[in-house]
Symmetry: C2
Subunit: 192 residues, 2 copies
């Protein structure tokens, strides 16, 4: 494993998503890996940490997650802008070589078949919390985070380090089409 | 009304939240206004536009929303950093003068009692979509956006204008405690 990838304590895992980055969602079932982009992912709880993610019915990744009950939410960086946009635009059904064409390299951080996208800033391994009504009605999925890791160059000691890292480490935040914003300047509010 | 506040077409309303800003949530019931901060808000659907927001059981704003079935999600700017942090830290129950002390000025953009926070970059007026099970189990609320507005200095022609506006107009993205990031540099992925 890359020496920079370090476990994140579960009580700090919510901080990986609280600032609202666009994420990559990955899953695996019966020998098939897939990765998609999702701008609509959000922290849901602190302990145990949970999150929500919107997965369209047309996506192959959703089918893998429904079949396996597991998935990974990972935070791509500005260095992965093109990769993120490509896996968001292309379906595995129409593009069987999608992951290779988008330059996706997979790690198996969790120690089994679940695929993690190399080069991200952080990874949250999730167990699907089944809620069939909201999955069917709103395409809304709930995950409980069972393990988390981050690249210490982007996140360490429980905090993002964007102001101390190169611009290629910034999280990216989708607007529409191919348009994104990188995360920006650190701001600190006064003690209340 | 401030001449810079313009309606946003409902089919573009999702773009106000897709980049993951921290928001202010406001509500009103029987003469009581309140405003809270929420980092865990997310777009949910395009048409009709919907969103999710996590509202802790201890918040007075949640009670107002459950009683009235209506709320506003608004996008504060870097200029409202202190206001946002204060309304996020203080409860109306312990601080009856909370809104005045935090410097909150309210507009009535919707034409009735629903309160909108002046100075924000965008406002989404929502109807609560009742889902009692996920409200009770996960503190997760779904809103359907029935009208939206933006300050044209920050969002116009269906797009955020952060790269063309002063830094005080940037959306803010919470990390933890008083720590936030402003949204940053515009990035454009290649056509696929």
């Amino acid at each position: 494993m890359n020496q920079h990838i370090q476990p994140v304590p579960l009580d700090k895992a919510y901080r990986l998503l609280t600032h609202g980055p666009t994420v990559l969602v990955s899953g695996h079932f019966e020998g098939v890996d897939n990765v998609m982009a999702a701008a609509w992912a959000c922290a849901l709880d602190f302990a145990p940490p949970k999150l929500t993610v919107v997965l369209d019915k047309a996506t192959r990744t959703r089918a893998l997650i429904e079949a396996s009950g597991r998935f990974v939410i990972q935070v791509p960086t500005a260095a992965l802008l093109e990769l993120t946009n490509r896996v968001g635009n292309r379906s595995l059904d129409q593009h069987p070589g999608k992951l290779r064409e988008a330059g996706v390299a997979l790690l198996r951080l969790g120690g089994d078949t679940l695929p993690f996208v190399a080069g991200c800033a952080a990874w949250l391994e999730c167990r699907l919390v089944p809620e069939p009504h909201i999955q069917a009605t709103y395409d809304l999925f709930i995950g409980e985070v069972v393990a988390a890791w981050a690249d210490e160059r982007a996140f360490r000691d429980g905090h993002w380090q964007f102001e101390n890292a190169g611009p290629e480490w910034r999280s990216i935040h989708h607007v529409a089409g191919g348009q994104y914003y990188a995360i920006g300047e650190a701001l600190r509010a006064q003690e209340d």
